[in-house]
């Protein structure tokens, strides 16, 4: 392989390693933002997402996603991928896949049966996610053909996870005590320091997530990669500050949990357009995401009364969709503000909604079947005592 080829491969591997580390970030965010009595269960769910994703994507998922296209809808599958020239891509896609499942974990924390979760994690990782991923990233998928832009996966990864999280949170229902007398109660996380370390780790991993999605760094890709790093960072920073200011105004105090969520929202929102927008565009996308995520969390919690302990639906689902749409507005090539008219925006909307429909529909079917068979939810006593005690016979802190 020549030096340029090596550079590209090396970049993908390094970015994959960074994305891998996001699993640790998710684990910390989800445990930190929930109660200590369920921390062990969340650890297990996140580790299993990673393990199932690693094996499932190698065994079958990768070719469902990237195999030769059958009708622009699904890849031709081969089992146990073993192409020695393509291991770096397998790795990079594996760690992406693990992310989608992990998003769900946070939204259903504190009340979901572990065995049920494991099954759902498997389905989303090796069926739901790779099929819609095929539509956008395989090169011959029907959304690619339409011209849909989702560079690193605001929709393909984050919204898919976010919408599955939505379906899960609705079907499973709120935690005991979350809504009483029609009022939403706060159930504060048990360790926000751990949660914020998780956010730092996610932010770190996101550089790999977005800049690695260039899938190359040689030649002209180099400056593109550096540009992606900057847009990614600016959007996150802008969103965090914005979320902080919004809460400062709304509640009189700068709220830490929302600021952290703001940073994540900015990262999710810029993921689709990180290679297509200017730094200024990224900055504005971040601001929009920072505003939207605060109101979205508020709306889902207080109006819709859907219990999402870590805000995954808003952070990944809503801002993921938002960020994808905003590509149609801010793309320097073809965006509404850059004289491209409404065409790209329309295409973005088609992509966002068709993938949302796919994710919601399939998740619903799977979770509904699980609900009617083995059940989604632990018993009242198990929930009150904490999942750690009943699902794992242990406690995290001793």
């Amino acid at each position: 392989m020549d030096a340029n080829g090596v550079l590209d491969l090396m970049w993908i591997v390094i970015c994959g390693i960074l994305v891998f580390f996001m699993q640790a970030g998710f684990t910390l965010v989800e445990t930190g933002f929930t109660r200590s009595k369920n921390a062990g269960n969340i650890i297990m769910k996140n580790i299993m997402d990673l393990c199932i994703g690693s094996i499932g994507f190698w065994a079958i998922g990768y070719t469902i996603m990237y195999g030769e296209s059958i009708g622009a809808f699904i890849g031709k599958t081969t089992l146990f991928f073993d192409n020695k020239e393509d291991m770096h891509n397998l790795f990079f896609q594996t760690v992406f896949a693990a992310t989608a499942a992990t998003i769900v974990s946070g939204a259903v924390a504190g009340r979901t049966k572990f065995s049920t979760y494991i099954i759902f994690s498997f389905v989303i990782t090796v069926i739901i996610y790779p099929i819609s991923g095929h539509w956008v990233w395989q090169g011959g998928g029907w959304l690619t053909n339409l011209g849909f832009i989702d560079f690193a996966g605001s929709t393909v990864v984050h919204s898919v996870g976010g919408w599955a999280a939505l379906v899960g949170a609705i079907l499973i229902g709120p935690r005991i005590g979350k809504y009483t007398n029609g009022k939403s109660n706060a159930i504060p996380g048990h360790n926000l320091l751990i949660g914020s370390l998780g956010v730092f780790i996610l932010w770190l991993g996101w550089f790999g997530f977005n800049a690695g999605s260039q899938l190359a760094i040689s030649g002209d890709n180099a400056n593109a990669v550096a540009g992606i790093i900057i847009t990614t960072n600016l959007a996150a920073a802008a969103a965090a500050i914005t979320a902080m200011i919004v809460t400062w105004i709304s509640y009189g105090k700068p709220d830490i949990s929302m600021t952290l969520n703001g940073a994540l929202a900015g990262l999710v929102a810029i993921t689709a357009g990180c290679a297509a927008v200017s730094p200024l565009g990224a900055f504005i996308i971040g601001i929009i995401a920072g505003v939207v995520v605060v109101f979205s969390i508020d709306f889902i919690d207080k109006k819709l009364k859907i219990d999402d302990p870590v805000g995954a639906i808003s952070v990944h689902g809503v801002t993921g969709a938002l960020g994808t749409l905003l590509v149609g507005v801010f793309a320097t090539d073809g965006g509404l503000l850059y004289g491209g008219g409404f065409h790209q925006l329309g295409v973005q909307a088609i992509g966002v909604f068709s993938i949302a429909a796919w994710a919601i529909g399939t998740s619903f079917i799977v979770l509904f079947i699980l609900k009617k068979t083995i059940g989604l939810r632990v018993s009242k006593v198990e929930e009150e005592d904490g999942l750690d005690m009943h699902e794992h016979d242990m406690s995290v802190y001793n």
Partner: protein, 112 residues
């Protein structure tokens, strides 16, 4: 004045608290303790599975004036009850004097 000390399941705390508010017992203090009793809990840790009777419980300390004693005890017994081993226990003892620091009130007045 009496001191009521109740050692209950952590998972029953919210209900008990609600019940206390219902009967207008709005002052008390609580903390987490480990209780040793009849109940046993199975655990696994790194290949050693073991049974422990050291179980996390919540300890409530409520000082009430004498007329409140019975309804308070009743309220706790009713809401903390599950019927399964491990429901906990309530102790009552005498308090000689109370002082509310902010107001300097003494005796039963300090409990209102």
């Amino acid at each position: 004045m009496k001191k009521i000390e109740a050692i209950i399941r952590k998972s029953k705390f919210d209900e008990v608290k609600e019940a206390l508010h219902q009967i207008e017992v709005n002052f008390f203090s609580y903390w987490d303790v480990t209780g040793v009793g009849n109940e046993k809990e199975g655990h696994v840790y790194r290949g050693v599975s073991y049974c422990t009777s050291d179980i996390q419980r919540r300890f409530l300390s409520i000082i009430v004036s004498d007329p409140f004693l019975d309804i308070t005890v009743d309220a706790i017994i009713k809401t903390a009850f599950t019927g399964i081993v491990g429901d906990g226990i309530i102790f009552v003892s005498d308090v000689i004097e109370s002082y509310r620091i902010r107001t300097g009130e003494k005796g039963s007045d300090a409990l209102k």
